[in-house]
């Protein structure tokens, strides 16, 4: 065989090994190279593990996890515990690997025409790890865990629009909302809203870790490790392939990388971006990255001078060189943002909206229009916002200085950043894990009066569109509305969105995953625990 063909064949099998090509495409391209059908078929099955295999002990190393973690999903706040939570428990709905919403503990959902009343019909015969059959009361009590005066749950605002919640027989749950929300089924996929067994007095048992999930808790030592065994009665087929799970917290990235390269663990999250190109040279490892909804924002309080002038805001938006930030802060592992929080992983991303670039002339033009000759502003930053936030602020300072803008970088302490700086200082650095829907993202970060409206954004048309789009069930109309809203935020918003960061993680070459991986959270939507397998 000629050298070129051989190389092409190798490339093709590599594609197949990484799950980046379908069988049909593979066969077509193999035969175009003159390979017979039978030979191509053998090549395919040799390079691709045909179906997920069961077995093995999977060991995850995660940067997240703290000794203060608890099994109460209302307090879940980091990827480590979220991932383990997804292993132990299920939710009414699930965001699938391709970003679409699928039923999980429910069979189907139905909405009234105004999207105010939602009926979830539950899957029958699903058992908790303790043998109890899941029914509507468990769902109601699990949801009420996050509602009411005395709840300590961080998910309280999510369920605030739920006016009434009741069980209708054993297999139906009815949510009545205070206003229409076409995305409500997405809301109940949130990692806080896990379904746990009811204790019979309106409360749920969260301490035991008993759920309906693919993995049964064996030991759980917060911030150190959790060990799990496969749930033999798991209701999903084609999920939960590992026999055993060991989930380790390894906070130090060097330790995590060493553990993976010496085979102490099988997969790790958050690779060190500075050295990941070296890690890729290790033949026994695979490095994967997914662009998701994780993004960095620099919100200005739009009701505080000088940020109350849109021209000042635009000048600042034009004065940042996103490409340089992408290369320096993320080493290229991400995409530039367009001053709105909607990711390409979302359904209604406004792809046609022109990308804002580093343009000193425009920055100067808007400054002049605002009637400001010398703009001097404080920018608060700490690495608690995201790794490299302080460096990003200093770069921004240098870039903006060329447009005659003086940014004074105020270095804030990491401790208490979220309580004392974010939402308090008029301009600061922030990260957002992002949300699966446009509505959730906008409602929480940009709607007038929202708790986390970090830019104090109050735009009449935007808020009208938000409410209209929420209750709109027509896909095309919704898309137009969401694109309009992204345009408004891009042109008039108070938030600079410079970057969307990729999730970069690595695994041993024995570990296999589906052709697509979810971008709503790290590690395949933090569901690698039930989605991946050993090839």
């Amino acid at each position: 065989m000629k050298q070129v063909d051989l190389q092409k064949r190798n490339e093709l099998t590599q594609l197949a090994k990484k799950g980046r090509i379908s069988r049909r495409d593979f066969m077509g391209r193999a035969m175009a190279m003159g390979v017979t059908v039978a030979a191509a078929s053998t090549m395919w099955s040799n390079s691709v593990p045909a179906a997920p295999k069961r077995g093995g002990k999977m060991r995850f190393g995660s940067n997240h996890g703290s000794t203060t973690d608890s099994l109460d999903p209302g307090t879940f706040e980091n990827g480590g515990i979220i991932h383990q939570g997804y292993g132990m428990r299920n939710h009414l709905t699930e965001v699938d690997s391709d970003g679409s919403l699928v039923p999980e503990l429910c069979e189907k959902w139905e909405a009234s025409d105004d999207a105010v009343e939602w009926v979830f019909t539950l899957r029958k015969g699903v058992e908790f790890h303790n043998g109890k059959t899941m029914d509507a009361q468990d769902v109601v009590d699990s949801m009420n865990h996050h509602r009411g005066k005395d709840t300590k749950s961080a998910a309280k605002p999510l369920l605030a629009p739920v006016k009434e919640l009741k069980a209708d027989g054993k297999n139906k749950v009815v949510f009545t909302l205070s206003g229409g929300n076409a995305d409500f089924p997405y809301t109940v996929s949130d990692y806080h809203l896990a379904i746990m067994p009811s204790t019979g007095d309106g409360k749920v048992d969260w301490r035991s870790g008993v759920g309906t999930g693919a993995y049964v808790k064996q030991t759980f030592e917060p911030g150190v490790r959790g060990t799990y065994k496969r749930n033999p009665n798991y209701f999903k087929s084609g999920r939960g392939h590992f026999d055993e799970i060991e989930f380790l917290t390894i906070g130090d990235v060097v330790a995590r990388t060493n553990a993976l390269s010496t085979g102490e663990i099988d997969a790790m999250n958050r690779c060190d971006l500075k050295t990941v190109h070296l890690l890729k040279r290790n033949k026994k490892l695979k490095v994967e990255e997914v662009t998701g909804t994780l993004h960095y924002t620099i919100p200005m309080h739009t009701d505080v001078a000088p940020f109350d002038n849109n021209d000042v805001r635009l000048a600042l938006k034009y004065a940042v060189d996103r490409d340089v930030l992408l290369q320096v802060i993320l080493k290229g592992h991400g995409v530039v943002g367009n001053d709105h929080p909607i990711s390409t992983a979302n359904r209604y991303h406004a792809g046609d909206l022109p990308q804002r670039t580093y343009d000193l002339d425009k920055a100067k033009f808007h400054l002049k229009k605002a009637g400001v000759t010398k703009l001097s502003v404080d920018l608060s930053a700490a690495d608690a916002a995201f790794t490299g936030a302080v460096d990003a602020a200093v770069l921004y300072r240098e870039q903006a200085a060329k447009a005659g803008i003086d940014i004074n970088v105020v270095r804030e302490p990491n401790d208490g950043y979220w309580s004392n700086v974010w939402l308090k200082k008029p301009w600061c650095m922030v990260y957002w894990g992002g949300r699966p829907t446009e509505d959730m993202m906008f409602t929480q970060s940009l709607a007038a009066g929202a708790d986390w409206n970090e830019s104090h954004f109050a735009h009449k048309k935007f808020n009208e569109l938000l409410i209209a789009a929420r209750a709109e069930l027509d896909e095309a109309k919704r898309r137009t509305m969401y694109v309009d809203m992204q345009t408004i935020v891009n042109m008039e918003g108070g938030t600079v969105v410079p970057l969307f960061a990729n999730y970069v993680f690595a695994m041993s070459d024995k570990v296999q995953h589906g052709p697509k991986m979810a971008g709503n959270w790290d590690m395949d939507g933090d569901k690698a625990i039930e989605r991946w397998w050993f090839g």
């Binding site: 703290s66 109460d72 709840t151 300590k152 749950s153 380790l248 390894i250 390269s261 979220w418």
Partner: protein, 318 residues
């Protein structure tokens, strides 16, 4: 002997006072840190209502002095309380972690102390030889690097390249003793390198100090071999300073390991303390600090008692 007993009692009483002051200072410092427990726990998800609900349930809405007094009374009855974060009994939480930390300290001590003392004796014996200079240079080099750097070098050489030991110390209770020792090897070696220089040089200096004394001169004139002079004549008199430095380094092995724990993911007390401070989980912070402080107090006491027993003159300071 009764004099030693009296001293021990006195020192223990002073130790209790020290612990009380330590707890007061720690409590005050954590109170001074920005953000409270509920805010740190909920992170970005904190809303005023949920923070208030947290504070109500955990009694964090009481004024600080009341909370401190409550904690102190529980403590005096031997109740460490529960972690604010996950409601686990602190005594149980602390027990496992403390065991792990003591285990690591013990493994490190078993390697480091005999090695350091014998190197020190040999260095004194062959003073100014190439061996003496070599040992000095090597131990000083090891101690001059930050602990985490020494740890990384050991991981790269012994863990990744030679694959002799695991790169992380993933230990749990169900493991057998030797398996635990094997997995603890790299952090223990790191700690060894960190304390080797102190103990080795102190031993060497203490012995050399004595070599100029008249009675050593006498021994030498009698024609004794240098080895015998050092082991039988010099060492017993040099024990007091050696014991001091050994015991103080033991204390360091227990309380100074936070960085090493982080690098090797070793589930000891240091990691627990760091996490708890970050979340303002005051009862856990208090308990950890008291354990650390008590370790220091007790080991200091032990050092004094042992020195006095080796040299009763110390009981009567001039």
């Amino acid at each position: 002997m009764s004099q030693i007993g009296k001293m021990v009692a006195q020192r223990l009483a002073l130790g209790l006072l020290t612990l009380f002051i330590v707890s007061l200072i720690i409590f005050g410092c954590v109170e001074l840190l920005p953000g409270n427990f509920a805010q740190e726990m909920l992170g970005r998800g904190a809303t005023p209502e949920t923070v208030a609900a947290f504070n109500r349930e955990l009694g964090l809405d009481l004024p600080p002095h009341e909370r401190y007094v409550n904690w102190l009374f529980d403590m005096l009855q031997g109740d460490f309380g529960r972690s604010l974060a996950n409601q686990r009994e602190i005594s149980e939480l602390l027990g496992i972690r403390l065991q792990n930390t003591l285990f690591l300290a013990a493994v490190a001590a078993v390697i480091a102390i005999p090695l350091a003392v014998s190197l020190g004796i040999l260095a004194a014996l062959y003073r100014d030889s190439i061996f003496d200079r070599g040992v000095n240079a090597m131990t000083l080099t090891a101690i001059s690097f930050p602990e985490f750097f020494v740890a990384y070098v050991l991981i790269i050489v012994l863990g990744v390249t030679l694959n002799l030991f695991p790169a992380i110390s993933n230990i749990s209770e169900e493991l057998g003793f030797w398996e635990k020792v094997y997995r603890t090897a790299l952090p223990a070696l790191t700690m060894t390198l960190v304390i080797l220089a102190y103990v080795m040089r102190m031993t060497r200096a203490a012995i050399i100090n004595l070599l100029a004394s008249p009675y050593i001169e006498m021994a030498r004139l009698k024609g004794l071999r240098p080895g015998r002079i050092i082991l039988k004549h010099a060492l017993p008199n040099a024990l007091a300073p050696i014991i001091n430095v050994v015991v103080l380094n033991l204390a360091y092995l227990v309380v100074g390991v936070v960085l090493v724990e982080v690098v090797f993911v070793y589930p000891g007390l240091g990691q627990l303390l760091v996490d708890s401070v970050a979340k303002r989980d005051i009862p856990v912070v208090q308990a950890c600090s008291l354990v650390f402080a008590a370790t220091y107090v007790l080991l200091n006491l032990l050092a004094d008692v042992l020195s006095i027993m080796s040299n009763p003159r110390l009981l009567h300071p001039r």
